[in-house]
Symmetry: C2
Subunit: 620 residues, 2 copies
């Protein structure tokens, strides 16, 4: 099926060479030396242990106990599961005006799902090949959405106009080729599925226009590690491997992907590559493209792969990385060769308070540009963002309040110019094997911080800053029970543009809420997640009480649209951390492209997928 | 002419926003703060001071004096210009069997150049706009080739089937758009010209098939620095700016491009981007794509540029970097936003001898992967490569020979297992502002070297290793005078593949020479130029005496073809250091692509340049 497989190409070269040389060639297709092949099949991951109408695991959620104290269930997450959060309720009552007595329960199930539209010729073609397929409602529904607030809200209170007609779990690259070729032959639409953890509506099915059967292609049965080369520091994996599972395996060998993110928990490596999720990256690994050495992508026009050049550094001709970030609109990634790094045994978070957001930014800029210390992560939250971090505090109230008083006095004494609402907290993450060296590094970071009025926050705050963002989706779903709706958006900006962009976007969100008669004013927290020489990424987390709104989703959509436009108008890039463009951001993304580039994208689509088998309509 | 200019897009957003908000917008298109705009016009660079039939400047060449000692003329290069090279002649006599009495003089000029094919409608369209144009033979010839051995040989002893019919020097982006649109309207072919310093035959005109007038578009009048942002660490320049000129300007402000290469001397930044020349990169700057934040490219279908997102870090949607490395086949780059770095004032080369190539590689791999020290460059030469470095020695013979004896004894004593022909020399380049820290770093490098039997070569050898490769083209041209022809090829390979690839390519070159009755066996030197976590780049420099060959160029071509195929068969990538694919490597490059990718490239070409205005036929 692949138009140009390596063996044929190899034979062609041999013939060419014989012709040139008049010699017998050795035909020695030497493979890499000393390559390990663990070929370990990882634990198969399905959606059965995940909530049908919310983010994450069924056993993990927030609840108020009889005294009104928020606590979390389950035992999956250290520092989080089965903990009490004493400051959460008061803070939520104040900022989002939630009321424990005013609840907004989700529907127990979606009443009516359309029955599947089955293309029997297609089914007859793939059935004999032993490819797993399901038409069950629960499978179809769970594959028809991601975890955006809008999608979860629809699951709780509404319905989807269309969901996939069947879910298919291929087990090999060849099965994927067979499915795609059958889809091509019998005119079936196909939406690749990694883990369903995107929050940009990337998996929602096209509605009226799409009359064909739509299949969801769940790659998660393809989760084998095919090869691990310690010498060349790469791993070859099937694309359906969940990043976290792979990471666990790699650590056994002393390696790491160098990635980290809230999404890592569920994401498959293929999903990460196809959505170009920079959320996962750390300063160690660089941009996602730098992590990917090689790949295979099945398209209706054949399989895209590098011949010969399996794992050499590439630096010739056009850069085919255009295929990353195409979000399953052109084909399915089935295999990836990923760069690996040595795993460092020690991690140190260095949290520093700054008297203003401005000073915090100057500090981060110096860390990014001067390269005095080698860091793995850098974050910053503004004062509302810091309140959110504090709300996740799990220390008992007595200890906490005493401690808090001490801290307050201490910092206020040090930060004479502190204005209310202006404080921020930065935290640098450093990795290494030698704790003594990390301590030296910590000291240097403290010295840089001091130049901008920073004071080291000698506590667990740094680590909490990092883990809080990973657990926020659980809080978001919990809040929906109390008429508080929340969402997030992200952007990047040049260093000198960050403050303007932040102020303008905050103002835009606030003004839009005001115009929609939302009271009290929305909560808006700002976080810097990644820093670069040239700028930083910014995440806005916002929420408001929606009890008096007829249609909270349309208000949420309006806020998102005006905020995205404001980001573009402030010379920002419209996405960074979240998983791609999807349908959520495609209009604004389109605005950032020049006309010839739009034409190029359309021509690539036409070349690789002329009949629009990959019909998910993301991006454009 | 651009189908989608930023202002129109901005207006569209404004309208959209007003519609959403029912509000007056501020229409505040805020630009970046505090951006410097030196707008300095750099010295205009033409070809008049360069050789018409050789590499580099007219005033710089090798010569033998009356005693037969090789020396170099001119005063451009420290450590090179007007120096004597006492060991060069004996070495050349031994390895390439040159004979001072057997010379092969170049023709004084090319007798017959075809007169220009002028499209008068096109000329009439651009003339009134005041765009500089020349039909002079000398301009046309100098723009019809690069600096490959084959091209220089043709200039010395043959002719070109076709050269451009005119040379045009646009001065602004708008003039480029005007020229491209006129070419589109009146059916004229166009080949963008940066500096003519590629060695992959990228500038040779298509012959019989191309009946249209062909213009060479020399960008070097577009050499203004448009903006320099110290805060965001970028510089915006016109694409015709010569990288070295830009580097000099940047250093005045304390910055650097972080690039280095033999080509930097003449290359324009646009040429570097369009050929994706990784030659220029250092470990500081990373791959070329990471240096380029933004760009403008004029295509027949319109101007490609990012709207709004001028300088923010980008991490959304497909990666348009596919347009880098397209080698002027789709359009002309007119403007680039480049990342800049702080310039370090101190540089230290740490050269280390190893008893074998294998051990040298293990050392480099550890330097690349363990990241114990931060380095800017890493090189290695095998023993023949080391001989070449030694041949560039400029110390007087007495001092040299005494010194050499001392060194020899010292190292032989230390390296007990040393086999003849197996030694290699590695050199790590480290940068910084604090010489004490660099010395600490040097010590660490020495310790890593020691693990692999390395001995620090306490001399100027490290620096010489770096500069020798920059002056090799002058030596290559000089050797042509004495019937010695030489060339180079490069590749990349995984770490564990480097040795196999090197052995196989050397064997292939040697066997091919043998089959062609070339005596003595060819000189082949191997150099590692860049190192990565996953592998390294390899440059083969080879030469032989061609006095008895009827057609040295066809033999050279044969060697190149079999070597390139061997590189592919050894799982290497067919190019790295040289400037791109061009016409020289397009067949083998094609072999490294899968069929759907070839289709994608063709569809992009068809979309952006349907009438093949950019007719240079590079890449494919």
């Amino acid at each position: 099926m692949s138009g140009h497989d390596p063996l044929t190409a190899s034979r062609r070269l041999d013939i060419l060479l014989k012709h040139l040389n008049n010699e017998e060639d050795t035909n020695n297709n030497s493979k890499e030396w000393r390559t390990l092949s663990p070929s370990q099949c990882l634990t198969v991951c399905t959606n059965r242990d995940r909530k049908w109408n919310g983010y994450g695991y069924k056993d993990t959620f927030f609840k108020f106990d009889e005294r009104g104290t928020a606590f979390s269930t389950g035992n999956r997450y250290p520092n989080f599961s089965s903990k009490e959060f004493h400051e959460l309720r008061p803070w939520l009552e104040q900022t989002l005006r939630i009321n424990l007595k005013t609840v907004c329960p989700a529907q127990p199930s979606i009443i009516e799902l359309a029955s599947p539209n089955v293309n029997h010729e297609f089914y007859d073609a793939i059935k004999p090949q032993g490819i797993m397929i399901s038409f069950a409602e629960q499978d179809r529904l769970s594959h028809g959405h991601g975890i955006s607030t809008a999608e979860i809200y629809k699951l709780r209170h509404g319905n989807f106009a269309r969901i996939p007609d069947a879910v298919i779990w291929p087990e090999t690259h060849e099965q994927v080729v067979a499915v795609v070729q059958a889809a091509l032959k019998f005119n079936v639409g196909c939406i690749p599925y990694g883990s369903g953890s995107n929050d940009v509506d990337a998996l929602e099915c096209p509605e009226e226009i799409e009359k064909r059967m739509i299949i969801s292609l769940d790659l998660r049965q393809m989760n084998r590690i095919l090869s691990l080369s310690k010498e060349n520091m790469y791993v070859i994996v099937e694309a359906g491997t969940v990043a976290q599972d792979l990471e666990k395996e790699l650590r056994k060998w002393g390696f790491t992907l160098g990635w980290d993110a809230e999404m890592l928990e569920f994401c498959t490596v293929g999903g990460i590559a196809s959505l170009r999720s920079d959320d996962i990256k750390r300063n160690m690994s660089g941009d996602l493209e730098h992590s990917v050495i090689n790949f295979k992508m099945v398209t209706p026009a054949g399989t895209i792969q590098r011949n010969y050049i399996n794992t050499s550094p590439i630096s010739s001709g056009p850069n085919f990385q255009i295929l990353f970030g195409t979000e399953g609109t052109l084909g399915v990634i089935t295999e990836l060769t990923l760069k690996i790094h040595f795993f460092a045994s020690q991690h140190l978070y260095v949290p520093i308070y700054f008297p203003s957001f401005h000073n915090g930014l100057l500090f981060l800029r110096e860390i990014a540009q001067k390269k005095i210390i080698k860091f793995s992560g850098a974050r910053l939250v503004d004062e509302p963002g810091l309140q959110l971090v504090h709300a996740f505090n799990t220390t008992t109230p007595t200890v906490r309040s005493i401690f808090s008083e001490v801290i307050k006095k201490y910092y206020l004494k040090k930060m004479k110019k502190l204005e209310a609402g202006k404080m921020c907290l930065a935290a640098i993450l450093i990795d290494g094997d030698d704790i003594v060296k990390l301590k030296v590094c910590e000291k240097k970071i403290g010295e840089i911080g001091k130049k901008y009025g920073g004071v080291i926050a000698g506590s667990d705050l740094g680590e909490r800053m990092y883990f809080v963002s990973k657990r926020l989706p659980y809080l978001r779903d919990f809040l929906l029970d109390y008429y508080a709706i929340s969402d997030r958006l992200d952007a990047t900006a040049s260093w000198t543009n960050v403050e303007v962009l932040v102020e303008r976007v905050k103002e835009t969100i606030t003004n839009t809420c005001k115009a929609q008669n939302i009271r009290p004013r929305p909560y808006i927290g700002v976080r810097i997640d990644h820093i670069y020489d040239i700028g930083a990424s910014i995440t806005f987390t916002y929420g408001f009480n929606c009890r008096n709104l007829g249609d909270p989703l349309s208000v949420l959509k309006l806020i998102e649209q005006v905020a995205l436009i404001e980001i573009l108008r402030s010379n920002g890039s419209v996405t960074h951390n979240t998983s791609g463009i999807g349908k959520r951001k495609k209009e604004t993304f389109r605005e950032s492209l020049s006309e010839p580039v739009v034409k190029v994208l359309k021509s690539i689509k036409k070349t690789l997928d002329p009949t629009n088998i990959f019909c998910n309509q993301n991006l454009m």
